[in-house]
């Protein structure tokens, strides 16, 4: 499932503060920033587990360096395209593929790769590569840097589609409405975890909160994951149609 409906931080805080009995934010020594930080961490954890946060970023292609940093908050690259035209308005594009062990670290248009594009008869083990073409568009990632092949320099812009971690640390989190309960429970559990370090009396409350969040059948976390991973009715309907037309 997917949703374009979002809720505000204050909307979630209204629930969280009541659940941890801290509406004045003076009872436990936990301040507003701590609660918002918890919300952001919940969103980050959901993003990493469910890949729900899909983002697109368009950039000028670095034709000389052939390398750019991964977008902030990105942890999983889904697609890369190179295109000409205007920024965010492609007129023609090509797909960029991943090439294992390609390395273009440094400031230049040439790199190294264990599997080469051109034939290299002097290599006794791998004298022949599979592609044999110099106009392939590929890239690799090392330590957060995307390194492109020299053929990519024929394009002006790059589009990266990636999974984000729910926004940069410090930004106001954008909270999908369908995750409301999971985020609330995550923050409540986190608060009681902090409080039980100060006072053992909070341990039963933490245990309750932990159970509500992580119960493998009915926990709010697993429910959130299920929501993300389930298909839209539209997708399911189309899928049925495809499968129905197969001749088997």
């Amino acid at each position: 499932m997917n949703s374009g409906d979002f809720v505000s931080i204050n909307n979630l805080l209204a629930d969280i503060l009541i659940f941890v009995n801290d509406e004045t934010m003076r009872n436990h020594g936990l301040n507003r920033g701590y609660y918002i930080s918890g919300i952001q961490k919940a969103l980050e954890a959901l993003s990493l587990e469910t890949f729900f946060d899909i983002r697109t970023e368009d950039k000028d292609f670095p034709k000389k360096k052939l390398a750019i940093e991964m977008p902030e908050g990105a942890f999983n690259i889904r697609e890369i395209y190179l295109y000409n035209g205007e920024l965010c308005k492609p007129s023609s594009f090509v797909n960029v593929y991943w090439k294992r062990l390609y390395n273009n670290k440094g400031d230049g248009d040439k790199g190294t790769a264990k599997r080469l594009n051109s034939r290299q008869p002097s290599d006794p083990f791998f004298p022949h590569d599979s592609a044999g073409s110099t106009s392939l568009y590929y890239a690799n990632i090392q330590n957060g840097t995307l390194m492109f092949s020299s053929a990519c320099s024929s394009h002006d812009y790059v589009r990266i589609v990636y999974n984000g971690m729910g926004g940069a640390i410090g930004d106001e989190p954008v909270l999908p409405r369908m995750f409301r309960q999971a985020i609330v429970d995550f923050v409540v559990e986190r608060c009681f975890r902090a409080l039980k370090a100060r006072d053992r009396g909070f341990r039963p409350m933490w245990a309750d909160a932990f159970q509500v969040l992580t119960d493998p059948k009915n926990g709010s976390w697993i429910k959130a994951e299920r929501k993300v991973k389930s298909m839209h009715t539209w997708q399911r309907d189309t899928m049925f149609e495809y499968l129905g037309s197969m001749n088997y």
Partner: protein, 249 residues
């Protein structure tokens, strides 16, 4: 609902003390002072128990912000004495007005200062969400001043403070002033003050120096002897034992 005045309470308590100690000579001012002490204690306990008591809240809408001589530290001087409660809850809220539309909620419902202490201030900066800023300001108390974190980069002239002020014993000396206490606590106040009075009246008579002796033993001491608990059989045996061993006269 009109609250009780000091005069009503003081005369009431004075009469009560006369009933048990008809020669007592406790001045009205003394009783009024006791009333203030106890009223402050009751206020404190009530605020502590219920977390927030609007009756004792005093709002100071425009307290000037001052920059201290040590540098760029902004503070306000407390306009009155406040209850010293854990997590500085004698300060109910601190807020400042922002440009807002007429339908926006009150300033204290939009932007309030969080409580902190200087030793925790450094860790606040570890997380961008807890870091003090003008949108997320903090306060801490140093004596009769309230200092702020997060206001370093903005100019601000006045702040609004909601404080749980105490009854100021030095200033409040009008017997016809109302006692700032819930009516249901008045009975408790009377009980506590009467106890204070009784204690003060009883102690001097028990520790009086009779002048018969200059030694310290001459001062009478109130020692209560509590007999050990015994069964009726044991008591009877003890009486028989005493009768048998009583010296014959």
């Amino acid at each position: 609902m009109a609250m009780a005045t000091y005069r009503e309470l003081v005369y009431d308590i004075s009469e009560t003390l006369k009933m048990t100690h008809d020669d007592s000579d406790v001045g009205l001012r003394q009783i009024a002072y006791w009333c203030q002490l106890v009223a402050n204690k009751l206020q404190y306990q009530h605020i502590l128990k219920t977390a927030s008591v609007g009756q004792y809240l005093t709002v100071f809408p425009s307290i000037p912000v001052i920059i201290d001589t040590t540098g760029n530290r902004k503070y306000v001087a407390l306009p009155d004495t406040i209850h010293s409660i854990v997590a500085e809850r004698g300060v109910e809220y601190i807020t400042y007005s922002r440009d807002s539309e007429c339908c926006d909620p009150a300033a204290f419902a939009q932007n309030t200062f969080m409580f902190t202490v200087p030793s925790k201030a450094q860790t606040l900066y570890y997380d961008p969400y807890t870091a003090p800023t003008s949108a997320n300001p903090y306060f801490y108390r140093v004596g009769e001043r309230i200092y702020f974190l997060g206001l370093e980069c903005i100019d601000i002239d006045f702040l609004e403070l909601g404080l749980y002020t105490t009854i100021n014993i030095e200033k409040e000396c009008n017997l016809d002033a109302e006692v700032k206490l819930n009516s249901e606590h008045i009975a408790l106040l009377k009980y506590e003050v009467t106890n204070l009075g009784k204690w003060s009246l009883v102690i001097p008579s028990e520790r009086v120096n009779e002048g018969s002796d200059m030694q310290t033993q001459g001062i009478m001491q109130n020692k209560i002897k509590i007999p050990p608990l015994q069964s009726p059989q044991q008591e009877r045996k003890q009486q028989q034992h005493q009768q048998q061993h009583q010296p014959k006269q």
